[in-house]
């Protein structure tokens, strides 16, 4: 048996164990009673140690070297698989086990303090823990950069967005940061001149919302023989390609949020569902990275479902499902709800126009902190200055400011930019799909996602990790990631330019 074939077997087991951990995590968020937390922690830790040992075993390194020596003989996709195996191996073995353990403990400890600090809007409370954690994250970034090349920040980014580089993102985000404030003023001015959205009067029973959400998921293409919709505090898409587990959270006073949240997660699920079955449980068969993943959820949510075509389809169905009456239930009014722009303090509540400003702020700050150009002591001040510059508002306290997101406080540095890279990729991919398949808009206005999904299946979902993100986008759209396409989408939707 060749070294490569033995690696395939090893990664198959490794990925099956990772998927087992994924089911346990889904259960933890949706089903597990509070008392089960400690036992679940032991189960997940045992799986993590087992996976780490499997990947960092001397035999894995030997097999990788042997397989790379005979890579010429492999098919194209198997070579890509070997590349992805090596990538996983590099990340897993770059850090001293003592540093991995210290990071895990410091992350858990800091997150605990952060929960309390956020509740009390007391940044000073969490500052010592954050400084300790950042010290470890910097060490990890330096160690990974030595193995991967690039800067320490790039090494962190690479965990979420393989091949991502800050030098490139800087250019993209600087352009966007220059565009956004002026654009936002225009949007707000235009919006102020138009009628305010009429209120949709509830209550909207959870059971009705759930049934309606399921119906729309099926329109997008979700197959309930291969997945579920459940509830959790923080919505997510978990599970495996043949058994996708979407969650949401319902508000009986407002059906619009859970509905769009479910459609967002359905975008993630459709990506996972469409991953290449023949490369199942192999690294090359996995989703490409967080930017592409986010592009798929945002393509469904932002590009399609908040667009006039889909909302025109949605409005009469919503009116019927919830027994609504009057002009508030007209498509035009529902569209005003779904396209409302309003600068606010909280990223997860932000609209499509102001969201990138939240991300750019975090990206700049975390990059400076990883590089040692800024210390956490200066975070609240720098945060508030950035909010004033990008959105023209200043948080009244740190709970609405630099304490709002969990990421930094549990060790996830380098993640933030993928949200906005995903938003831009979504705009570019959707534009390319519409150009390639002109019937897509009309089909969507009938609730038919077939033509769009067929194009996405061919150009994104079915490719897994065969190509890098840049390559994937260029092959699908004919050009590298281009922020102008995202800007054009924003102008068309919010200023009526086209």
């Amino acid at each position: 048996m060749s070294a490569y074939t033995r690696l395939e077997q090893r990664f198959k087991r490794l990925n099956a164990l990772k998927e087992a951990a994924g089911v346990l995590q889904w259960d933890m968020s949706t089903m597990m009673p509070a008392g089960g937390a400690a036992a679940r922690g032991e189960q997940l830790a045992a799986l993590e140690v087992t996976c780490h040992e499997l990947l960092s075993a001397p035999e894995t390194a030997e097999l990788l070297e042997a397989a790379e020596g005979e890579a010429e003989a492999l098919e194209f996709w198997a070579r890509a698989n070997l590349r992805e195996m090596r990538r996983r191996w590099r990340h897993e073995t770059a850090l001293d086990p003592a540093l991995v353990e210290a990071l895990s403990k410091a992350g858990n400890a800091c997150e605990m303090v952060w929960r309390e600090a956020r509740a009390q809007a007391d940044f000073a409370m969490v500052l010592p823990s954050l400084k300790e954690l950042l010290g470890l994250v910097r060490r990890a970034a330096v160690a990974k950069a030595e193995v991967l090349g690039g800067t320490p920040y790039d090494a962190l980014l690479d965990q979420y967005e393989p091949g991502g580089a800050a030098a490139r993102i800087d250019g993209i985000f600087d352009g966007l940061a220059a565009f956004l404030p002026g654009f936002l003023s225009q949007v707000l001015e235009r919006q102020a001149a138009a009628p305010a959205p009429l209120a949709l009067e509830g209550p909207f029973p959870v059971e009705t919302q759930r049934a309606f959400a399921r119906r729309l998921m099926e329109r997008v293409g979700f197959d309930f023989a291969r997945g579920r919709l459940d509830e959790s505090l923080h919505p997510f898409c978990g599970g495996v390609p043949e058994d996708l587990r979407i969650t949401t959270r319902y508000d009986e006073a407002d059906f619009t949020k859970a509905l769009m949240g479910v459609l967002h997660e359905t975008g993630h699920a459709m990506y996972e569902r469409g991953l290449p079955a023949k490369w199942r449980l192999q690294p090359v068969g996995e989703a490409r990275g967080m930017a592409v993943h986010e592009s798929q959820s945002l393509l469904i949510e932002m590009q399609v479902c908040r667009g006039a075509g889909f909302v025109g389809y949605l409005a009469p169905l919503a009116r019927e499902a919830f027994g609504g009456q009057g002009p508030a239930w007209e498509a035009e009014n529902l569209l005003r709800h779904y396209n409302r722009v309003e600068p606010g303090f909280i990223r997860v509540d932000a609209d499509e126009v102001t969201y990138p400003a939240h991300v750019i702020l975090r990206y700049r700050l975390e990059k400076a902190m990883i590089a040692g150009e800024m210390e956490p002591d200066d975070l609240p001040e720098a945060w508030n200055a950035g909010m004033a510059e990008l959105l023209g508002i200043t948080p009244p306290d740190d709970a609405l400011g630099c304490l709002q997101d969990i990421h930094w406080y549990d060790g996830a540095w380098g993640y933030f930019p993928t949200y906005t890279l995903g938003a831009m990729a979504a705009a570019q991919l959707f534009a390319a799909a519409e150009t390639a398949v002109p019937e897509i808009p009309e089909a969507i206005s009938r609730g038919d996602f077939g033509p769009l999904m067929a194009w996405l299946g061919e150009h994104v979902h079915g490719l897994g990790s065969l190509y890098g993100t840049d390559d994937l986008i260029e092959r699908a759209t004919g050009r590298p990631l281009d922020p102008k396409i995202f800007e054009a989408h924003l102008k068309a939707r919010y200023l009526g330019d086209s």
Copy 2:
């Protein structure tokens, strides 16, 4: 670090991985959509291989030998833990890996054919698969017997009931088989002379049944911060001591079955919940075996909840929960339902009096087949002869006869006797508890399980696998397992003798 301490760490990881598999199995039975089966199979297989490798690794054998060499220095419970580790190791390593794989494949294949054969009542259809499987099971039994001592059948039994021996069970079951037919005639005669139970008129909505079942579970002592109640095709109790997952199946025309089924599973759950926390994830901290486990479910269901004291508490609550009216809802009538005796073909539907006959029949047949004294070709005839002898009825076809249970067809030979050993242990333990704590009956008639659970916690639950089954029963009740106590319970309940 001592060899023993390293073994503790190794078994901690091993058991955490086994618990992870348990959560995946619960999910598979309750939540998983049909499409997820293949991926789940990969996840479970990866966990099983990982656990097997961990236990059968040369290092484990070395550590066991080293630890046994210095066992004198260990505390009592740690020596018991080491004994249980060795037991697990012996079972795991007794078989050639090729035989393990062949058994697994033959079991899966035979089970598939059996489903169809049972549906068509066609024993000939499954006979070749059953013969092949039995051949492998015999080989496994011989191989395990060489390692464990005892007969090949004892080696199979030991998988479910550690230390169990057919020579001892023969004596117990022969006595019971001699007692039962005459006793059954007396019961049926007495029952015929009494009024027939009045029908309880439904429908009984699932939601009402569920809420009522949850309320009674809480009375027994189940803590919903540490467990759940869900639905599955085949009811079971899964999960871990801090997170117990009971399932049931509802029939809207009859609430009595699901209710008693839930109380049965609650008995299993209370055992798991009461296992010693300080030995968590160690073999000595686990439940003693299937006979003791079944004794705990049957103690709650049969000894307590089908008794007059508890039914007297239950009847007015049931009437209120389901809005019942009239004499059918009196305790006396509900008791007639719950103590109805009627010889039938199907084991899982059998009452407390006829159930042992089903088990004794299977025990005798499987023992003969493992010993090579009988071949599967003769099974239908031998089955029907046994049913005529023990219960005086003859199945009209094999679906109601030797095709009804999954056990033999998926390779679980040596399991059946634990059901009736458990029933006898339940009677003996409950009698001892009532003698030791005289207020138990009165407390139960008020729905207060506290005094009973305190006694069980001390004498059964909290001991884990510290003692063997025989030892545990003798320590708890002052004498070895004594079938006369079970017979006395039956006479008291069904003939009014006391």
